[in-house]
Amino acid sequence: MLGRGILRGLVETWRNFQGSYYDPARLTTVQYPEEKLPPQENARTIPFLVYDGDDPMAGLRCTACSICAAECPAHCIHIVKDTAKKPDYLGKMQLQPKVFNIDMAVCMECGICAEVCPFDSIKMDHVFELSSSDPDMVLQKTDLAKSNDYFRKIHPTEAAAVDAARAAEQRKAQAKKEAVPGPSAV
């Protein structure tokens, strides 16, 4: 009969109305600035640079290989290589970036940089409250550097995998070094 669907709809909205006062399932709004949903592990916002140890600049994993800058579809990453080298976690001497800038006004948070990075150096962050009155939204190397602990905290699964892989490589390199004591070690 005509009107039955309307009545059923009215009943449903009525249930919503009175349920919203006691049933949390019928009042699903999160009042943002005061309440925040816990971020999903796989969420990604802007990129950041991972460093090991305590000193952000010394422990930076980035080797200034510029793969990310080349792959970035928006061309928002600007890297200048430093002439000085420093040993990486395997003891190999690697380049390091003198300048590592990301223009956040251009970055579209696609995460391609994080995927192509062979050194697990660039990862995607969880922060999203980025609004600022500064019209120039270029983030410097110092702004981008965040510790491995932070990485572990926001992406526990991925960080564990990365740490395990790096530890395995380190062990392998260690074993190689011990097995073949080269002249360089002397």
């Binding site: 009969m1 005509l2 009215l10 449903e12 909205t13 009042l27 709004t29 009042q31």
Partner: protein, 391 residues
């Protein structure tokens, strides 16, 4: 009881008595007008916030709760915002008509409140042809809508205005026809008389309100549906269907003129709701004899608020209709049913049978066309669609 019941009447008399004798009628009128504007202005502000809160609750969210305690100062903030917004008039607009349209919409709507009886002895003007006045005043808003749509020189505005006018004209017919049985029953066009005709009780407990008769119930339902369409309420708010027409005839309005349209729309809803209360729900009468100690205006306010809540509830529930569905619904469903209802009302009053027999026969006389029309009227969508390539 009597003092509380007549508190506004005696207050008005006392205040008007302060003036010198020749100025008294004028002052009394001004007091009436000021009272009406104050009450329904506040009512408008309250309804906007409550509507948004109730809609929110019905859609699993909070609604506005930021400004003031529980967001109660939201209408104030909205008003300030509307007032200080820039008033933009399109370059090619017809400036005079563009300016006059919001006024032409809002002023007649205020006039409509003059004849409504809000309580015992509480109507600003007691007109012999009160309900005719109400509908005559209401018909002025159509021209205002046309002025708004045409003067904006914008195709969305014009289309929205044409839709609004087609809708208002179509739904005015069932609106008036649904009210006619009440006039037949009361034998008067004067609204206080209609309320008086609904006093007393049947079988000792059921109030003699029109809504408690078969034709009254049907008329009430038809009246509410037509009233929702008349005041552009959801699900009949397609003159300003933002998904297709931006904002209909309001597209080129901003700032305070837009607020005036908004006010006019809500006041129209209030007026027609007040009329529904008067015609079908016994006006200011208490639902039971032992509840008579509550003031009459309190009962009116309670019934009025309940109907407003119903409108909000329906708005939260139903999606917007399509234009052809809307007009079909008016002409092919509401108008025939309203005519049948007229006949049923005549049967109810002229058939000297016992109450139960009359009830059953009248209800059957109404239910049969309802079911039949509901079966045959599947709307214009009854033609099944065939997809040749995308099966």
């Amino acid at each position: 009881m009597n003092a509380l019941d007549q508190i506004f009447v005696s207050l008005q008399r006392a205040l008007a008595g302060l003036a010198p004798v020749p100025a008294r009628p004028l002052l009394a009128m001004i007091l009436n007008i000021a009272g009406l504007m104050a009450v329904f202005g506040t009512c408008f502000a309250l309804t906007t916030i409550l509507e948004r809160k109730i809609l929110g609750r019905m859609q699993n969210r909070f609604g506005p709760n930021r400004v003031g305690p529980c967001g109660l100062f939201q209408p104030l903030a909205d008003g300030i915002k509307m007032l200080i917004k820039e008033d933009i008039v399109p370059f090619s607009a017809d400036k005079t008509l563009h300016f006059l349209a919001p006024l032409a919409l809002t002023v007649p709507v205020w006039l409509a409140f003059a004849v409504l009886p809000f309580g015992r002895n509480m109507s600003a003007v007691e007109l012999d042809a009160g309900i005719l006045f109400f509908f005559a005043i209401g018909s002025a808003s159509e021209l205002a809508v046309f002025m708004a749509g045409w003067s904006s020189q914008n195709k969305y505005s014009l289309l929205g205005a044409m839709r609004a006018i087609a809708q208002m004209i179509s739904y005015e017919v069932p609106l008036v026809l649904a009210g006619v049985p009440v006039l037949m029953a009361a034998g008067s066009l004067s609204l206080p008389d209609i309320v008086q005709a609904q006093s007393g009780f049947v079988l000792g407990c059921v109030p003699r309100w029109n809504v408690f008769t078969p034709w009254g119930l049907a008329g009430f339902t038809l009246f509410l549906i037509a009233a929702a369409a008349e005041s552009n309420r959801c699900p009949f708010d397609l003159p300003e269907g933002e998904s297709e027409l931006i904002a209909g005839y309001l597209t080129e309005y901003s700032g305070f003129k837009y607020a005036l349209f908004f006010l006019g729309e809500y006041l129209g809803l209030f007026a027609v709701t007040g009329l529904a209360v008067t015609l079908f729900l016994g006006g200011w009468q208490a639902p039971a004899a032992w509840l008579d100690w509550l003031p009459s205006w309190g009962w009116f306010a309670a019934k009025f608020s309940a109907l407003i809540f119903l409108f909000i509830w329906v708005r939260a529930t139903l999606p917007r209709l399509r234009l052809d569905q809307l007009l079909m619904f008016a002409w092919k469903f509401l108008v025939p049913l309203a005519l049948v209802n007229l006949f049923v009302a005549a049967v109810w009053w002229k058939w000297p049978a016992p109450l139960t027999a009359r009830w059953l026969v009248c209800a059957a006389l109404l239910a049969a066309p309802y079911v039949w029309l509901g079966r045959t009227w599947n709307g214009p969508t009854s033609q099944e669609r065939h997809y040749h390539y995308a099966e």
